[in-house]
Symmetry: C2
Subunit: 322 residues, 2 copies
């Protein structure tokens, strides 16, 4: 990675003004990395602005973003270069499509193995737990002082992207960086409370889903299902489902966990999670979806009940001893 990080540093040294963007529907790693990079660039006298297609999610509103984050660039003139972070392809920024490409150099920094190397400079490291880990490395090589603003952005990104230091990407390096960020003044309790903050509607929704939680007789498949009625009754939206598929996955003996979501009477979304050995990306692909080994999803043009039956049947087949 030595060569790639040096190319990125050269781009930074040679230029003066930067836009930074990530993907649509940004989560903690996208936002934390972007904001941390903007604060870092400003520290060394550069102009830097985070430009996001979608607004900052509410649960991340505690991140320091004032005057540094906009949804539409305020400046009429284009920047000297554009950073695209945590984004597998440039279309996912929400600003470009096949026809419209940026007229300025693009610096592509990502940790997804599927990244399409669309940048003028590409620094893609699938070994990194989060894009925030790469921004940390960049800051270190640039001699950036990890101010409280930068530290809280990087910490929040690492915490979320590793599922509170639980996913298998939780490497020794992640813990070492976390140690340093705490030394720089991050309050782990305050961040954890903010990131996990719930509305009463969301917890009522969780209650309804858990009461409907089901498991196959052998215990290997477990699922919850959410209808439009659930959302109405609890005043919630699909955004409130974040992490809920973790509940069926937490059951003893489970191999595959599912969350079914009624989009409308003819459309159902399915989230697949694997506890361990099953590759759920393969399962989602059976229904035209995709994802990773442990987390995947698909959308099926059928009603909730029918989709449940079909998908559970398909999972059972995969789990059959061959």
């Amino acid at each position: 990675m030595k060569k790639e990080i040096e190319q990125v540093i050269k781009e930074i040294r040679d230029r003066q003004s930067f836009f930074i963007t990530a993907h649509v529907n940004p989560e903690a790693d996208a936002m934390g990395s972007s904001l941390a990079l903007a604060w870092s660039l400003r520290q060394i006298g550069k102009k830097a602005q985070v430009v996001s297609h979608d607004p900052l999610p509410k649960f991340l509103s505690f991140l320091p973003h004032k005057d540094i984050l906009t949804q539409m660039p305020r400046i009429a003139s284009p920047p000297d270069a554009l950073f695209v972070l945590d984004c597998g392809d440039i279309e996912r920024t929400g600003f470009f499509d096949g026809a419209s490409r940026p007229s300025f150099p693009v610096i592509n920094i990502d940790h997804h193995i599927t990244n399409k190397q669309f940048g003028t400079v590409n620094w893609v490291d699938p070994g990194a737990a989060a894009t925030a880990e790469l921004i940390y490395d960049l800051d270190r090589d640039l001699g950036i002082d990890l101010t409280p603003e930068i530290a809280i952005c990087l910490y929040t990104a690492l915490l979320s992207e590793t599922g509170f230091f639980a996913y298998s990407n939780t490497s020794p390096k992640v813990f070492k960086i976390a140690a340093e960020l705490i030394e720089r003044g991050v309050d782990p309790w305050a961040v954890a409370q903010k990131v996990r903050e719930n509305s009463i509607g969301r917890l009522h929704l969780l209650g309804e889903l858990l009461l409907g939680l089901q498991q196959t007789e052998d215990g290997k498949i477990a699922w919850v299902a959410v209808t439009q009625d659930h959302f109405k009754r609890t005043g919630t939206t699909a955004e409130d489902l974040e992490e809920f598929v973790g509940y069926p996955r937490s059951l003893k003996g489970v191999e595959v966990a599912l969350l079914f979501r009624e989009v409308d009477t003819e459309t159902t979304k399915v989230s697949f999670r694997s506890r361990d050995r099953v590759d759920v990306a393969v399962l989602a692909q059976l229904f035209g979806g995709g994802g990773h080994q442990k987390a995947a999803g698909c959308t099926i043009k059928s009603g909730l009940k029918e989709v449940q039956t079909r998908v559970i049947q398909a999972v059972k087949k995969v789990l059959l001893p061959s």
Copy 2:
């Protein structure tokens, strides 16, 4: 702490056989620390046995404990010394009371500020996040190789005692130790899954409690209540309530979260949790209980409904702007 750890090391070097015990109803820090210490002592040729009053909790059954943990000592002869870990007073081991005291030296290692210094040697460090942190320090000074057995015990203890690296005791040192333990082969995903493993009954119970979740109009107090009926319907026990008070505490705007548990028609237990500034130990003391600033509890000789009314009233008073 230098002097205390040296005294402990001297005791270890001078003696040959050890019992190790912690407190009744052992949690992850008690069990993880005890087992890690036993594996460590055996590594340097000592005889060591963990003797626990209560059995290993099911959720910790993945910890390596075969042939090293017993509920009753198998050997008739007393050990050369007894380690008491994570235990504020010796009565809490479940093996001694005011009248019966051990006839052999006691090595007391703990991180609770309330520890009664009951040992022949006392190493009490309230600055440590967990007793496991002290066992880690001891291992390092003894030159113990952190084998996979020791590493998983220490990691599980640290993870649990810091609430998955979220409580305010999550220090840089905790993260640095975690990094080293992962390097020693601990699988963070496997441990997290084991520690968080649920039964379907427990998740149904959670569902019922969340549907009953309530919050005062100003949002500052939130609570759930569990009856004997809940336990019966879901096939669960009080043990299954572990961590559930975290749900009302996670609500935006909450200052005090409560969990009411009907023990019988005339007895109610109350768990208090503070989000931030309120000292809930003071609140619990009003009802004859106690605890820490952020976590406390009490038992009240009244029915569930009456206790709810009285306790919520008391919390409201404390929250009034003075």
